[in-house]
Amino acid sequence: MSATNSGQSTFGDRQGQALSASDEAGIGIHPAEALFYHEAGLKATWAVARMAVGALSFLFGAFLFSYFYLRSINSHGMWHPRGAVLPQAWAGTLVMALVVISAVTQTAALARIKAGHKVTWQAGARVALTLGLIAVGLMVYQLAALPFPAGASGFDSVYTAFTPIYLIIAFATMFWLRILLVRAAAIPAEYLTEQPPSYAETFTVQHFQARLSAFTLLWNYLAVVAILFWVLFYLL
């Protein structure tokens, strides 16, 4: 069985894997048990990424609700008064573009590592990491050079409060990518194309791939959020 396609494995493969895993892994537990907890871990990684997206959606949903609620009531005409200064559009657009390009790069790189090209993924991931960190830096700049008082209007309040939260989450996600890059460095490239010598190593490779897929899902999701709020802040 290839280490790269655990999701397509047959029951026979998995039973064989289970029956062989214990001795080769040298971890002193029953082979079926080793497989059970290994696969549970893979499923957990898949599931937690979806749950993180769900939880974040409700967090960002609070900002989205605030945006439309305050916009719709336009209290004292102060949602976004005529002539009010806008946040730097060039910086906002650049942040959104950087995050989107970073996510697209990482997604393309993920396809390469699934095909067994670890080095290509590493290059892509480094680019994605760099772009993501530049975007974070730009958001810090935007906040430092805010062209209006934070509470000058309803719009300004939503903008000023949303940006630090997105910034922190994006930075944490980039930190995760950094950890994945470090882990990838310890995995021999051939393990991604051929059966590793032991099941312990197979398990490790599969865990890495599961985490990478989870990361990609989350980063793509954050790119969608970046586009959405860019539309709200700069187009509507």
């Binding site: 655990s6 999701g7 494995s9 029951f11 998995r14 039973q15 289970a18 971890i27 537990i29 029953h30 082979p31 079926a32 048990e33 080793a34 497989l35 059970f36 907890y37 290994h38 696969e39 549970a40 871990g41 893979l42 499923k43 957990a44 599931a47 937690v48 749950m51 993180a52 939880a55 409700f58 967090l59 949903g61 609070a62 609700f65 605030s66 609620y69 305050l70 209290s75 004292h76 102060m78 949602w79 934070a150 509470g151 000058a152 209007s153 309803g154 719009f155 300004d156 309040s157 939503v158 000023t160 409060a161 930190f175 470090v182 882990r183 310890a186 312990a200 398990f203 490790t204 599961a210």
Partner: protein, 653 residues
């Protein structure tokens, strides 16, 4: 080239290498609660210094002598220092540097010391939660005693009005904020892996972090007293929250931290239940308590982020002067009400559902009958959790809601009584013609059904717009939610403690003292809160320290009952200490003759829970069923286990 990362092993949660080097350091050098306290103090000072530095030229700070930014930064850095002192960030930093994780030290620590550490063992985390939750509950209960002391007289005052509202705020917030985890924290963490046949939870680090955020939230909330408290009560409504003194910052940071704790605990619980069920533990065999944890965790993961958002927006209003809740600048206080209650109403079910789970788990054991309508019970819990997202506007009936929207939310609120009714239907069916064993857990379970019924019916009454408009802000509402939360959740919590403590500690609490506690608690609970319906109907408002003279007799009755209710909790504390510290009489493994999977192993459970992955053979409630097969094969033959594992759904790539 070897791979540095170790495979995830079931025995050592978090993938820690059991054969790896165990670094032994002097106790005072190891991350534990003392280093956490040190980190918190240092962090607080750093945060205050930074805050003072960045706001040195701000006129508002100079004029009011109140520096919200410095205080909030102090709290946030103190929390980071607290977590850093516990060693929460050690493994994350090591991973980023490409070094192997070293969680072994904290995991392998034997004895009592492990309960003061950031540990990855779900059973230790469960016990940490249990002790902490009892401490939080008792502290909040003392505030309740203070409230009732003040209300002994309408004119002679023990506290001033400002102090009184501080006490009310601390009591309400501590109860509503921290008690969200009173069941999922201790029983969820400890029991769910045992009930589903797993050796671990999915993300033990998240679980441990969720716990260690609770003491930080508790201390920060308590510290509000140092800053004149907060005048808003537990709901933190704007614009009062924007006008309040610095105690409000403590409320906001504490509630925000607790929200994060809820999200982490919920995610861990959901993933554990979905992914770590033993072979054969299909959804139709899942213990009903686990179903309740699933529904509760679902609510926590989706509702708590909105709470965190609401707290954060209020903080930005108070610190960097945004205007979310300032109408003159484009904001609206109703925005806060919407955000808060979008969390706040599901929170009611975060509090109620675990109670339903506990009592539904217990009654088949003591009725010696299968749980009637198992699927109905599960459907009821899922139904309640889904519907709870569509009722929050009933909290705005008297404030900002469009009158035309009222009937819709009245309907959704009334609808939620239908799945709640399922739970009662299941109980009635189980009780029907059963030979009930009136043990202490069963008494508390029956007490819960009785109390929650009153709370539920008064809730349906209050969901009616006209009735709500009349009773809004009175003691009637207060009585209603105390019947659902204290009468429901806390009675169920007590049932859970008496039922599962023999599993957790291998010691059964004294039955006689337990029965004395139940009867005093049940009688004085009702004696405290039932008259409050009348007091409310006669017009006494909540959160006000003076009231009409004609209501003094009823208020005195309530206050004396409340003190006796507090005394019943004292009986529990005495029983707990007497049974677990003084007598320590070991209990047999399964004192209730339960079929639950958690009872099929020794009490307390071994370090690894199960020698092998168990093979689940039947549902856990087949009491009195002839030829019922055992619940599980705890030591299945290797080839059978391999076949069972291989037949489980493969992970998705």
């Amino acid at each position: 080239m070897s791979i540095k990362e170790e495979p995830v092993l079931p025995q050592q949660p978090g993938g820690v290498d059991p054969t790896g080097p165990l670094v032994q350091r002097a106790w005072w050098k190891r991350p534990a609660i003392h280093t956490a306290l040190l980190g918190a103090i240092v962090g607080y000072l750093i945060g205050r210094l930074i805050g003072d530095a960045v706001t040195s030229g701000v006129a508002r700070v100079a004029n009011s002598n109140e520096n919200d930014i410095a205080l909030v930064l102090g709290y946030l850095f103190a929390t980071l220092g607290w977590l850093g002192g516990l060693g929460v960030f050690n493994d994350i930093v090591r991973q980023a540097l490409g070094r192997p994780t070293r969680g072994t030290e904290t995991y392998a620590t034997p004895g009592v010391a492990r309960y003061f550490r950031y540990t990855l063992d779900h059973k230790v985390i469960g016990v940490q939660y249990l002790v902490a939750m009892i401490a939080y509950f008792c502290t909040a209960g003392l505030f309740a005693m203070a409230i009732r002391t003040e209300l002994l007289s309408p004119t002679t005052h023990v506290f001033g009005p400002g102090t009184y509202i501080e006490i009310v705020g601390e009591h309400g917030t501590m109860m509503m904020m921290l008690m969200t985890s009173v069941v999922l924290g201790p029983f969820g963490n400890y029991l769910v892996p045992l009930m589903i046949g797993s050796k671990r939870t999915a993300f033990p680090r998240l679980s441990a972090l969720s716990f260690w955020l609770t003491p930080a939230a508790f201390i920060i909330l308590l510290s509000a007293i140092l800053w004149s408290g907060f005048p808003t009560g537990w709901t933190g409504y704007a614009p009062l929250s924007n006008q309040a003194t610095q105690g409000m910052d403590a409320y906001l940071v504490a509630f925000g931290l607790m929200g994060i704790s809820m999200i982490l605990a919920g995610i861990n619980m959901l993933v554990t239940i979905i992914c770590y069920r033993a072979p054969g533990m299909g959804w139709r065999r899942l213990p009903i308590f686990v179903w309740s944890m699933l529904a509760t965790a679902f609510l926590m993961v989706l509702a708590a982020p909105v709470l965190v958002g609401g707290m954060y927006l209020t903080l930005t209003d108070r610190t960097i002067q945004t205007a979310f809740f300032v109408p003159d600048l484009g904001g609206s206080p109703f925005l806060y009400e919407n955000l808060f209650w979008f969390f706040g109403h599901p929170e009611v079910y975060i509090l109620a559902l675990p109670g339903f789970g506990i009592v539904s788990e217990i009654i088949p054991v003591f009725c010696r009958r299968p749980l009637f309508g198992y699927k109905t019970a599960a459907a009821g819990m899922i139904g309640v959790s889904l519907l709870s997202f569509f009722v929050w506007q009933h909290h705005l009936f008297d404030s900002g809601i469009d009158p035309n929207a009222r009937p819709l939310f009245m309907l959704t609120t009334e609808l939620i009584s239908v799945p709640t009714g399922f739970i009662y239907l299941v109980a009635l069916g189980t009780f029907w013609r059963a030979k009930i064993r009136l043990t202490v857990p069963m008494l508390f379970a029956i007490g819960m059904y009785f109390n929650f019924l009153i709370g539920g019916i008064s809730g349906v009454f209050l969901s009616d717009v006209a009735a709500d408009t009349t009773a809004h802000g009175t003691f009637f509402v207060l009585a209603h939610f105390h019947y659902t939360i204290m009468g429901g959740l806390i009675f169920a919590f007590m049932a859970g403690i008496y039922y599962w403590l023999p599993k957790i500690m291998g010691i059964k609490l004294n039955e006689r003292l337990g029965k004395i506690q139940f009867w005093t608690m049940f009688i004085f609970f009702n004696s405290t809160f039932l008259p409050m319906f009348a007091i409310g109907a006669m017009g006494q408002p909540r959160r006000v320290f003076e009231y009409a003279h004609r209501l003094q007799t009823l208020n005195d009755w309530v206050s004396i009952s409340a003190f006796l209710l507090g005394g019943s909790i004292l009986i529990f504390v005495v029983n707990f200490l007497w049974s677990t510290v003084v007598v320590r009489e070991p209990e047999v493994g399964n004192p209730w003759q339960s079929r639950g999977l958690e009872w099929q192993i020794s009490s307390p459970p071994p370090a690894e829970n199960f020698a092998r992955v168990p093979l689940i053979l039947s549902a856990p409630y087949e009491y009195g069923v002839k030829d019922a097969s055992p619940v599980a094969d705890l030591d299945p033959p290797p080839d059978v286990l391999a076949g069972a594992v291989a037949s489980m759904p493969a992970p998705r790539s």
